[in-house]
């Protein structure tokens, strides 16, 4: 089975590293970007099965990045991971097509489960 390729967009290096560790451990191929702007070039050059993105980032935030994905790569599935667990962000992210909106206080097992579920759902569609 082909390894799933995930684009991880997160401005905090510590968070980026730990998420990369968890997901690589699960057998995914991970490409990282520190903000939406860098992520744009990545998404234009590579195919990703899933994008895992933060919302609050410098230069280009997650919402702007998701708007771009929705417009230019509607087939790409997005999962949002954010410390801002507010209803507004949840609604906006969902409106822009996010499969899931996760809190940064998520447990490792739950994160793995959600990512696998979303990728599985993607295969079904």
């Amino acid at each position: 089975m082909k390894t799933k390729h995930i684009l991880l967009v997160e401005d905090d290096m510590g968070m980026r590293e730990v998420l990369r560790d968890i997901l690589e451990d699960e057998g995914f191929e991970i490409t990282t970007a520190e903000n939406g702007k860098v992520a744009l070039t990545q998404i234009e050059n590579y195919h990703f099965d899933l994008v895992l993105t933060d919302l609050k980032m410098p230069q280009m935030d997650g919402i702007e990045f998701m708007e771009y994905i929705e417009k230019n790569h509607p087939e790409t599935k997005v999962v949002v991971i954010t410390a801002y667990g507010g209803k507004d962000n949840y609604t906006q992210a969902k409106y822009l097509g996010a499969f899931e909106v996760l809190s940064k206080s998520i447990r490792v097992e739950e994160l793995k489960k959600v990512i696998n579920d979303v990728l599985h759902r993607k295969d079904e569609t």
Binding site: D12, M15, I22, D25, K56, A83, K104, S105, V108
Partner: protein, 372 residues
């Protein structure tokens, strides 16, 4: 039974009565309506000024003798009106020679209590008006301050939560990895699990803090102007028990008011529209419109006055001392109190009546608060 003091007249006036002098008769008469603090000298006067913050006026004699003292008082307490009794000659001289900005306000010696009452009431009202304005400013400052604190707390909570998440996730990975390896006994996985548990708890606390501080500066609680008007109308509806009062509205605006402005304007509108109690009989309609202008908005209320009695349209009731409207009929007084409340929001008021058509038009040009 003593006459009940009007609330705003409860701000005290200091009367400097030199030792050995009796309290004048006019004061005994006015004490039924106005609160006086009698002091025997400047030292005592200063003591009250320093300790009491609500002094509206001071009554003194021999002002020229202690000019330096009174100049200091005026400098430090500019909102206080200083009254001084003058003889007829002094009074005439004062009126002809004094510049507009005088240290004190002259009172003619042996004036009747009625005249003195009017003079004092005006000073007290002026003071009350300043107090009201300063209260509104304080509320506005507090609103801004609280929203700023909220915004900061939210940002901090977000930053801390990020780091807590990193600690927690790393600890979890360590547990998973350690479980795969056969580690020596002294290495207790339970300790790391406790770190994870505590991180989760801190995270929950931070969520709570962020929940409380969701108000950001740019998102400070704001109330759409149109909502304020609807609220006022719905309160009147419930008062009168009518499902559809004939109130027409043109309100194509996104303007917002702050919490205090919302309450003030709503109360003003209720007062204004309450006069037109006759709307309950569907005999007349009220037309309310809002127009957005640069840095301001124009609130227009037009109503047909069907009262048999002539409604007094005069700006004196809007700009003049409040005592002028104290004696007019209650409903009409409500109308003018409402207009004055709108004015206290910083509005430029225009009030006109078209006699043949019996149309009253109230136009208020208000500074723009913010737009959503």
């Amino acid at each position: 039974m003593p006459e009940k003091k009007i609330e705003y007249l409860n701000y005290p006036i200091i009367n400097v009565v030199p030792p050995g002098k009796k309290i004048p008769d006019w004061q005994k008469e006015l004490e039924k309506k106005i609160l006086f603090y009698n002091v025997s000298g400047l030292k005592e006067c200063l003591k009250i000024l320093t300790n009491k913050k609500s002094i509206a006026a001071i009554l003194c004699t021999r002002i020229e003798k202690d000019k330096k003292f009174w100049e200091e008082v005026k400098k430090n307490y500019p909102w206080i009106t200083i009254f001084s009794f003058l003889s007829f000659d002094q009074f005439t001289h004062f009126k002809s020679s004094s510049s507009k900005k005088s240290l004190y306000h002259p009172l003619l010696l042996y004036s009747s209590p009625d005249i003195l009452y009017l003079e004092f009431a005006q000073a007290l009202e002026c003071y009350a008006c300043k107090q009201e304005k300063s209260l509104l400013q304080t509320i506005k400052k507090q609103e801004n301050w609280f929203s700023l604190i909220g915004q900061l707390t939210r940002e901090w909570a977000h930053e801390i939560k990020n780091h807590i998440a990193i600690i927690s996730l790393n600890a979890e990975i360590s547990v998973v990895k350690a479980q795969k390896l056969s580690l020596p006994k002294p290495f207790k996985l339970e300790n790391i699990k406790k770190i994870i548990e505590q991180c989760q708890k801190i995270s929950e606390v931070l969520d709570g803090i962020r929940g409380f501080s969701r108000v950001s500066h740019s998102n400070s609680p704001s109330f759409p102007l149109t909502e304020t008007i609807k609220q006022a109308i719905s309160i009147l509806e419930s008062e009168n028990g009518y499902s559809q009062p004939p109130i027409k509205k043109t309100m194509p605006t996104k303007l917002c008011l702050s919490y205090s402005e919302n309450i003030l304007l709503r109360s003003a509108l209720i007062n204004i529209l309450r006069y037109f109690n006759q709307i309950k009989n569907n005999q007349t309609s009220v037309y309310i419109s809002i127009q957005e202008k640069q840095n301001a908005f124009c609130l227009k209320i037009q109503l047909k006055d069907i009262c048999t009695q002539t409604f007094p349209i005069t700006m004196d009731y809007v700009n003049g001392p409040i005592k002028k409207i104290v004696r007019i009929e209650r409903k009409k007084r409500n109308f003018y109190i409402g207009v004055r409340l709108i004015k206290s929001l910083g509005a430029e008021i225009s009030l006109k009546k078209n006699e043949p058509k019996q149309l009253i038009t109230l136009q208020a040009l208000l500074p723009c608060i913010n737009s959503s």
